[in-house]
């Protein structure tokens, strides 16, 4: 069996493997999700980063795989566009 590594692939990190190359279009319209987590019960949830995903299930998968540096006891994702600004920065 050939176990050749695909180092010769010409795909980029922005979807040229599937999107028409001449358009440079990025696939889909993704939503930004805030990722919040905590490591101990006496800690509050705090934002540890963001992910872009089409839906909450995929956002959860992405959050778990990207922010796996600690043994979190709780992690949640929330769509950034649902936040309501009270004091604007």
């Amino acid at each position: 069996m050939t176990m050749k590594h695909a180092a010769t692939k010409t795909t980029s990190a922005q979807g040229s493997a599937v999107a028409p190359a001449h358009t440079g279009k990025r696939l889909g319209t993704e939503r930004v999700w805030l990722v919040l987590a905590r490591r101990a019960y006496d800690e509050p949830l705090r934002q540890i980063g963001t992910v872009e995903a089409d839906d909450s299930d995929l956002a959860g998968v992405y959050a778990r795989s990207i922010y796996d540096e600690f043994a979190w006891i709780e992690m949640v994702v929330i769509p950034r566009d649902t936040l309501i600004t009270v004091i604007e920065a």
Binding site: M1, K4, A17, V18
Partner: protein
């Protein structure tokens, strides 16, 4: 039964191993950064599952009449029982998504059927594997819907990738028409289902995703029975039952001008 069980564990381990390699090839080149990281995580999962299964071959080999030697050790193994669809690197992201949605979930169906296996080492590993596979299911379904939603060439490429893997994945569960007495794995309690039952479970698992994405494959939902049924015969005449793979079709020769 020992020989059948050895074969089952060997093809599970080998396909997990190669699937992990294929996923890993995309861990820096998926369409989004998030998908790349998820691909790396899934690659780690698959390779870990293979690593947990290979030692079982050493246990099963004597009863199966297989020599305990380099050929059953993961580091020195060369005769892989792998699907033809995984023999070469994926040609594009639709191939990745198709393998994730179809092949990965087919392997998972075996672990579902082995949760109460009479071979306890496989039962124990199955429960752990299934915990980790939940994320793979979400990933495959999410990306299939997304690529199909793009329409045009992207949807066509996705459907093409799924169609190329469809027949082989279905045949991979094993010969058709075996009942619980004639199928050695079901008869011994190694699995709780015959190959036909495994196929039906798998169709019920992937059918709703395909339908929701509008990806027309030869499967339909029977509203009366609630079952998902194939609408095209499987190519059993080409199925290699000893290697558990469907040999690739010979390329069509260009017509003479």
């Amino acid at each position: 039964m020992s020989e059948a069980l050895f074969g089952l564990v060997a093809r599970l381990a080998d396909n997990k191993y190669v699937l992990g390699r294929r996923y890993a090839e995309w861990c820096s080149s998926a369409p989004t950064l998030e998908a790349s990281v998820a691909a790396a995580a899934m690659a780690q999962d698959e390779l870990g599952h293979a690593r947990a299964l290979y030692p079982l071959l050493r246990t099963l080999a004597p009863a199966a009449g297989v020599a305990v030697g380099p050929e059953i050790e993961p580091e020195t193994r060369t005769q892989f029982m792998t699907l033809t669809a995984l023999a070469e690197p994926f040609g594009g992201w639709p191939d990745f998504v198709a393998a994730n949605l179809l092949i990965d979930s087919a392997l998972t169906q075996i672990f579902v059927a082995a949760q109460s296996s009479s071979f306890e080492p496989l039962a124990g590993r199955s429960r752990k594997v299934l915990q980790e596979e939940r994320a793979h299911v979400v990933f495959g379904a999410g990306w299939a819907k997304r690529l199909a939603g793009e329409g045009g060439a992207v949807k066509a490429a996705t459907k093409g990738a799924l169609r190329r893997m469809w027949d082989e994945t279905l045949c991979w569960f094993g010969s058709a028409g075996l009942d619980a007495q004639s199928d050695p794995l079901a008869n011994s309690g190694a699995l709780d289902a015959t190959p036909d039952e495994l196929r039906a479970r798998w169709l019920a698992a992937v059918g709703p995703t395909l339908e929701a994405a509008g990806l027309a494959l030869p499967v339909r939902h029977d509203a009366k029975t609630g079952a998902w049924e194939l609408t095209a015969a499987l190519p059993w005449d080409r199925w290699d039952a000893s290697a558990y793979r469907l040999p690739a079709l010979a390329p069509v020769k260009e017509a003479a001008r």
